[in-house]
């Protein structure tokens, strides 16, 4: 695996607040890496340090093996797509895309060719003469993407690129960015707070909390084996309990079934139910192996209705039961 960029013990403090707390991270070449976490976890700050917009308080940032910690953004050769898109409002779409090429003193003909090639790649060839404010949010997003790609960046950095789009377009653009990434072979670092986006798009998924990396790995690895309660919680595990042998475990709602089965069993009482068409969400209360009252959620498909107050045995499916290293 070639390393495109590397964080070594990188810390960022703003006054008393530690935004990024000594992270070590290797960004693999030609892959899509996502920095995932709730707001304030340090993911955007990390991206901004990689881009050169923010100087780390401590640590080293290497790009292609070269210490680039204090290099100004214009010398890094990275493409960045901002959450607000940050298009130049006084320039046309084509002029926006050409901006970085002009600075690189690329010839007129070459610029024209690369601008139209890049706009075709993002499907906006027909809008090259428009001003950004005439475009929809999704189109502006594509212009921002084209502008960043046109300079043939060493890395493409995307800061919450889809968060300002409506739900349907967001899902479309996930595949679109994936397609562009595989067609160009670019190394991409994407910041998001949306776990579905990260799961669907990443080769490498890095979960952050309070300026630290909680876990990193492929989406499958992380999803199936969350390392701690925070990661599990963030990825939609809702049932946390201590089993009879005193081990802290978790299971997803769809792997908790009503009735006795193969797995970890608990005696529970139904608290409430929510019918949602395809499934029935049953909230229960149980006393776990440590004697604590825990709240459980079972996602039941094709099940009969149950009444609140019903006492029942629930089974956490043995095949999907995850043992957590840390309770927090």
């Amino acid at each position: 695996m070639t390393i495109a960029a590397e964080f070594v013990g990188v810390t960022q403090r703003f006054g008393d607040f530690t935004a990024v707390d000594g992270i070590d991270l290797e960004i693999p070449e030609g892959k899509l890496t996502t920095l995932l976490g709730p707001s304030g976890c340090g993911k955007t700050t990390s991206l901004r340090m990689l881009a050169g917009y923010s100087l780390p308080t401590a640590g080293t940032i290497k790009i292609h093996g070269v210490d680039s910690t204090t290099l100004p953004p214009e010398k890094r050769g990275l493409g960045m797509v901002f959450q607000s898109y940050a298009l130049f409002p006084h320039m046309t779409v084509a002029q926006n895309v050409a901006y970085g090429l002009k600075i690189r003193k690329v010839g007129q003909k070459e610029i024209a060719a690369r601008v139209s090639e890049t706009l075709d790649l993002v499907g906006l060839g027909h809008l090259s003469a428009s001003k950004p404010k005439k475009l929809s949010g999704g189109q502006q997003q594509r212009v921002a993407l084209a502008r960043a790609i046109a300079i043939r960046p060493r890395l493409l950095l995307l800061d919450e690129p889809l968060s300002n789009l409506d739900a349907r377009l967001r899902v479309q653009m996930r595949a679109e960015i994936r397609r562009i990434q595989s067609e160009t072979g670019l190394t991409v670092v994407l910041v998001t707070h949306d776990q579905d986006e990260a799961l669907e798009m990443s080769d490498l998924m890095v979960l952050m909390k309070s300026g630290r990396i909680m876990q990193s790995g492929s989406p499958r690895e992380v999803f199936a084996n969350p390392a701690n309660r925070f990661v599990a919680d963030f990825l939609g595990y809702e049932n946390f309990f201590t089993d009879k042998t005193g081990i802290f475990r978790t299971v997803r709602p769809e792997h908790l079934t009503l009735g006795a089965g193969d797995g970890e069993r608990l005696d529970a009482t139904v608290v409430s139910t929510a019918y949602r068409g395809v499934d029935l969400l049953v909230t229960l209360e149980a006393v776990d192996g440590a004697g604590q009252t825990v709240r459980l959620v079972a996602d039941v498909r094709n099940g009969a209705a149950v009444e609140p107050g019903t006492r029942t045995t629930v089974t956490a499916d043995a095949a999907h039961l995850v043992t957590l290293a840390a309770k927090e």
Partner: protein, 263 residues
Amino acid sequence: MRRPVAATLAVLGYLIMIVPILFVVATAFSAGRTLRFPPEGFSLQWFEAAVTYDPFMESLVSSLYLAIGATALALLLGVPATIAIHRGKIPGRGLVEGLFLSPLIVPELVVGLALYQQLMIGFGLDNLTTLLLGHTALLLPYAVRVTGASLALADPAVEEAARGLGASPVRAFLTVTLPLLRPGIFSAALLGLVTSFNNVPLSLLLQDREFRTLPVTMLDYVQQSYNPRIAAMATIILAATVVIAVIAERTVGFAKIFGGINR
């Protein structure tokens, strides 16, 4: 009308503002010899009298000279100050901004007297230089506030995007930030020109025989002679102002120009 009180007040406001001006305009076209309403007959003789009256024309040139100079100076100082206030990491930026806005609050007579004492008596500067400095100070709040308003509206990420694409800080400023500030700078310039041109208190205190602005000259004139020449001159200024206002409205829009001040 769904809001009779508001509508009545609006109409009343327009009447109070416009009617006195109409009286002045009407008397300017008088064929008589005194400022009187209704005017006696119709003629353009007082306009001719106004534009051929040397003190008016000389002081008009002085006023324009002063207004243009002071506006240029105020922008040269104010625009970088605004950028520092909004984008820089200067400590106590509220205080700095307050300092630049303070000429709006300090009575102009006090400023004028201070400039008279310090610059003219103390440093022995001439009237023109002192007036230029005084008017520059007077216009700084507009330069800082109005350009600041358009800077506040601009996304700071735009400049970062330019840097990321390879632009040096200077190039990013010239190719991205400055074009975004253009409407703000234009508005500030316009407000500055009008404010300086109309100013009486500072100009009155710092005048001398060689250099005197049009409003001060008109004030002198009306104390000595009471004829329609002054009304004609006022009408010419009014017409010029209307032309400027129309240009401003067409190019930038009034809401944008004056919206910046009260933010």
